[in-house]
């Protein structure tokens, strides 16, 4: 067995094991950590396929940005564990049943042998100087320019949606009005009131 095959099986096992544990983990925080592990395993598998740029992006974007945000949300929401656990067991038999059916179907499809090496040719290995990023960029800006622009529109919608749903004009927003701050007079801020000391003593 080649060294790369051993690596493939190690990372493959890591991926399947961490994904399975992620589903059954009781602690949400643990589940998030296991998700990070499965992302790492996928990135390593991609590295074996010579998709270096995608592998690094997966770790940078998903682990570095998205999962950190997830962890913040989990910490802030303080989810009640017991209610989640109660629902987990009620739907367990149905979940197991559906999983078995889907796994059987996938096994049936894969055992048809259409994805074996005779039918799907092995990707050609590239030389050391081969640039992943150049190839990716060439494809993105030529063949796939239309889907690429559509993805940009999708991100625009995400921004508009987030601002529409969260931004509130009047309440809570504390804005500076600079011209008002500059033109302010001492009299606007402080009112000098003359209070006779004798009277105030009497009221006390």
């Amino acid at each position: 067995m080649e060294f790369s095959s051993i690596l493939f099986y190690v990372f493959g096992f890591c991926l399947v094991a961490s994904s399975a544990m992620l589903v059954i983990a009781r602690n949400t925080l643990k589940a998030a950590m296991l998700l990070i592990l499965s992302f790492f395993s996928v990135a390593s598998l991609w590295l074996l396929l010579e998709a270096e740029f995608l592998a690094i992006t997966l770790i940078l974007v998903y682990v570095g940005a998205v999962m950190v945000l997830f962890l913040f949300v989990i910490k802030m929401l303080n989810i009640d564990q017991s209610t989640i656990r109660a629902k987990f067991t009620t739907y367990l038999p149905l979940g197991i049943f559906i999983s078995i059916v889907v796994i059987a179907q996938i096994a049936l499809v894969l055992s048809a042998g259409q994805f074996d090496l005779e039918n799907v040719e092995e990707p050609t290995r590239h030389v050391a100087g081969y640039s992943n990023i150049t190839e990716l960029a060439t494809d993105l800006y030529t063949t796939y320019v239309y889907p690429f622009e559509l993805a940009a529109v999708l991100l625009l919608i995400a921004i508009i949606a987030a601002i529409t749903l969260v931004h509130r004009k009047d309440s809570r927003s504390k804005k500076q009005n600079i011209s008002e701050q500059i033109s302010v007079q001492a009299s606007d801020r402080m009112r000098l009131a003359s209070i006779s000391s004798t009277k105030s003593k009497e009221t006390k």
Binding site: T143, V153, I160, I163, T164
Partner: protein, 482 residues
């Protein structure tokens, strides 16, 4: 090394899409800087954008081309669908404005998100690759989720948006899984190449097995977007929880886009497997018609009732596709357009009853409408009779054409079952008519809708009758699309 060919003249075929994206970007900026000085500016710009886009799409009817390296297709059915989508969107936004202004929801974002959602639908209609179909679907859905949640202070609206979002994400996942299987076996995302593979003469049974495995997931994704049973769970809750103007939009124009997605994926792409997906559609169709007709009998909320009525109409649309002949597909396309026309009018009449601080969404809100506003009661009467399938309204002919095709394809039992359920569903349509004409109420029913909405709604109601009197031209047009 790079042998890329780009012909600038090709961009002409994507003119409607390009114009719309540019207009959206412009309106977004104008809405930010000028909207406080010119009220309604965003609204009028949105309407003119839709009108101009529709005009461009209309001018492209008859042209056909595949551009952007096979990710975009322009053909007759696409151009016609785009023109109809623009017309129906304009009507829907005219109705929406009254609803939004009486419920203090009138914001520029509403119109921009509507435009973006229509843009997503245009992408779906013109998609020639599984990648663009999926991107169009997400652009449409993401805008719709936000539109539902735009009424931030209503808990039901937030719940509806969240439910739609979560179930929509699951459906997208299933659709993508199916697409990955199809890609795995055909080696291409291009609809044309998938079609060439699926109709190939030397397909071995293992390859058909994998294609079918992918096909099932594609059908699930499509059924979810249509809201066909058993993927209908989101429909009643979302229809009831969303603001009525969003419910109206959701139940009309996206159905045209869903039909386009079905045509692109299943007829253009996997037409060679028609016998397989027709079997799946048979189950979906008969369950939808049955459940939609029976459960609607018990509803008191009119939006929920119309949701179940939609489910049963969807069943009829899917029936048209099981026939596997051009006439059947044409009948289904005709049914979709007729349904959208009826649904727009029905929700328009509900919106007419809304006034400052009053949300009309119960059937009892229609009590005594014939006394206070006989004109709108008459329009609602037209819609209800048309939906029930009473001649000479358009709803009768759309059902008739579908049933004709189903019978000539040899599925007599399906046709009989569909008719039986249609007769059952007539009960709740007639009940609304009874509520309007024979039930009295002490409460004064006043209509505060602006004149433009009244005029458009009147034309809309009249079309249900007029098109029903001469349906043959539109039927021939619908058949010529395929």
């Amino acid at each position: 090394m790079i042998d890329y060919q780009f012909n600038t003249a090709d961009l002409f075929f994507a003119l409607p899409e390009l114009f719309m994206v540019a207009a959206i970007a412009l309106i977004l900026l104008l809405d930010l800087f000028v909207s406080e000085r010119f009220q309604n500016l965003t609204y009028y710009l949105t309407q003119s954008t839709l009108a101009i886009t529709g005009y461009f799409a209309f001018n492209l009817i008859g042209e056909s081309a595949v551009i952007f390296d096979g990710t975009f297709v322009l053909d007759t059915i696409g151009s016609y669908f785009k023109v109809f989508m623009m017309i129906f969107s304009i009507v829907a936004l005219v109705y929406s404005r009254h609803y939004l202004s009486v419920h203090n929801l009138l914001k520029g974002e509403y119109f921009i998100l509507s435009l973006l959602s229509v843009f997503g639908m245009m992408v779906m209609v013109s998609a020639h690759s599984m990648l663009t179909i999926y991107l169009g679907l997400e652009i449409m859905s993401l805008s719709l989720y936000t539109l539902i949640a735009i009424a931030r202070d209503r808990a039901v609206a937030i719940e509806a948006a969240l439910k739609y979002f979560v179930l929509g994400a699951i459906a997208s996942g299933l659709l993508l899984y199916g697409m990955s299987m199809i890609y795995g076996i055909t080696g291409s995302l291009d609809i044309g190449q998938i079609a060439a593979f699926a109709t190939g003469a030397n397909l071995i049974s293992e390859q058909v097995l994998i294609l079918n495995f992918g096909l099932v997931f594609l059908v699930i994704g499509i059924a979810f977007k249509f809201g066909a049973v058993p993927f209908h769970m989101w429909v009643p809750d979302v229809y009831q929880g969303a603001p009525t103007s969003v419910t109206m939009f959701l139940s009309t124009v996206p159905k045209i886009a869903a039909t386009a997605m079905l045509v692109r994926l299943l007829i253009d792409g996997l037409g060679g497997l028609q016998a397989y997906w027709a079997d799946l559609f048979m189950i979906l169709a008969i369950l939808s018609i049955g459940l939609g007709s029976l459960v609607a009998l018990m509803q008191t909320n009119i939006k929920r009732l119309l949701a179940y009525s939609t489910i049963s109409h969807i069943g009829f649309i899917l029936l048209g596709f099981i026939t596997g002949v051009v006439e059947g597909y044409g009948a289904a396309a005709f049914y979709v357009l007729a349904y959208v026309l009826m649904s727009l009018t029905a929700f328009g009449t509900i919106i007419v009853l809304n006034k400052q601080g009053f949300e009309a969404d119960q059937i009892v809100d229609f009590r005594g409408l014939s006394k206070h506003s006989p004109w709108f009661a008459l329009i609602m009467l037209f819609v209800m009779l048309s939906m029930a399938g009473v001649p000479p309204f358009i709803g009768f002919y759309s059902k008739l054409f579908i049933l004709q095709q189903v019978i000539s394809a040899g599925y007599i039992y399906l046709a009989v079952a569909a008719v039986v359920f249609a007769v059952i569903s007539a009960y709740y349509y007639l009940q609304i008519i009874k509520t309007m004409y024979f039930d009295d109420t002490e409460k004064e029913v006043t209509v505060t809708a602006p004149m433009d909405m009244r005029i458009i709604l009147s034309i809309n109601g009249a079309l249900i009758l007029v098109l029903g009197l001469m349906p043959s031209y539109w039927m021939e047009l619908a058949i010529s699309l395929f």
